[in-house]
Amino acid sequence: MSAAKKRGPAAEILVQNLWWNNPIFIQVLGICSTLAVTNNLTNTAIMTIGVSLSTAFSSMSISAMNKLIPNKVRMIVQVLVISFYVIIIDIVLRAYLPDISRSLGPYVGLIITNCIIMGRAEGFARSNPPLLSFWDGLTSGFGYMAVLMLIAVVRELLGFGSLFGIPVLTALMGEAFTPWTIMIMAPSAFFLVALVIWGAKTMQENMKIAAKAQQGGAK
């Protein structure tokens, strides 16, 4: 990419997954959950941690078993591994964080169908060693987390007037604050995701142009 500096593979993966190849605004994967959970920061945080961990561990397991997996049942085994980690997360939430488990409801189980996890398993873990795959899965999750948290801040702040359930706008403005009902509902996430994609793409283009100009100047 545009970054001319040499990076180690781990740092390169981090930069790719957070910015140049972000799962949300470049790969446009995992959009369903972006619409569903981002009206509340607490749910978003737990959900994105869940996605990061299950992507990391499934990528690691699939990479470790890769040589043993028969080609015909490759996808089936991937889904099995992914569901395994997601159900473990669901069980842990139900046992230790019952309130959050209740408010997330069916969304935790739906992590299984998050396209990012399968995308990383197919696209990266199959042809890379386990530890690097773990790192790739984790940072992909972080890329997803960064965008979702950004959207959740806007939606919770304008929709409820609070952040992490703590009143902010309602406390500052009192009765003068009217919650934006649209922010609570799924359509607002569409607009916000589109704005994020627009902003990020524009910034990336500008960075590429600037990097090119710099290279040209150095010659």
Partner: protein, 205 residues
């Protein structure tokens, strides 16, 4: 053995399923008691709150529940009973359809079925921030002490901040969640009818 051969594929799939399912079953078994305890705590604390018994720490819930709440088997199912200042109160677990899924709640009434003593939500799948606001304290508090009319109570459009009058048999609906509010009205009124029938048959003792 060939990696893409029939036998290997079948064996591999079989073994891998057994291994992963074994660990899932193990995790489930290890947390079973904790999950059951969480569920019991959620239910008991809702029953206590609906019956108007306050608790300050989560640890008190079990002992308060055991000391004060008795169960009563009736034609209309299991009732939870407490006696406060000589006046018995009855609570029942109810369930009914909401907009997206089943809403489970606890409704408590006095012996004459004249006033609602309390209302608590056990579980629901309504839209967070819209229908989900039925689980907010201001909404549930409106029911406490509300007079039960001939038709039960009405959940209707009001200020959206809670109806302060306990004698008009009305509570405010949640703004932007008309259908969830309608569901709550139906669930509550259905149960109030059951309570009234039970009272007339002398079942509330």
């Amino acid at each position: 053995m060939k990696r893409d051969g029939m036998l290997y594929t079948v064996l591999f799939t079989f073994i891998i399923c057994i291994v992963f399912v074994f660990f899932l079953a193990l995790a489930n078994e290890l947390t079973k008691d904790r999950v059951a305890a969480n569920r019991r705590f959620a239910e008991r604390s809702a029953i206590l709150s609906a019956l108007g018994i306050g608790y300050s720490t989560p640890g008190e819930v079990d002992s308060l529940y055991d000391a004060q709440v008795s169960t009563l088997k009736t034609d209309a199912g299991l009732l939870y009973k407490v006696t406060i200042d000589g006046q018995p109160r009855y609570a029942a677990k109810v369930a009914g359809p909401g907009l997206w899924g089943t809403i489970q709640a606890i409704i408590a009434v006095d012996q004459q079925v004249q006033r609602i003593e309390g209302f608590q939500i056990l579980s629901h799948n309504e839209t967070p921030g819209l229908g989900g606001r039925i689980d907010e304290p201001w909404f549930k508090a409106q029911f406490k002490g509300e007079k039960i009319g001939p038709q039960g109570i009405a959940v209707r459009q009001g200020s959206g901040k809670g109806d302060p009058d306990p004698d008009n048999s009305q509570v405010d609906a949640v703004t932007g969640a008309s259908r969830t509010s309608q569901s709550i009205q139906e669930i509550v009124n259905k149960e109030l009818t059951i309570f009234k029938t039970l009272r007339d048959k002398g079942g509330l003792q």
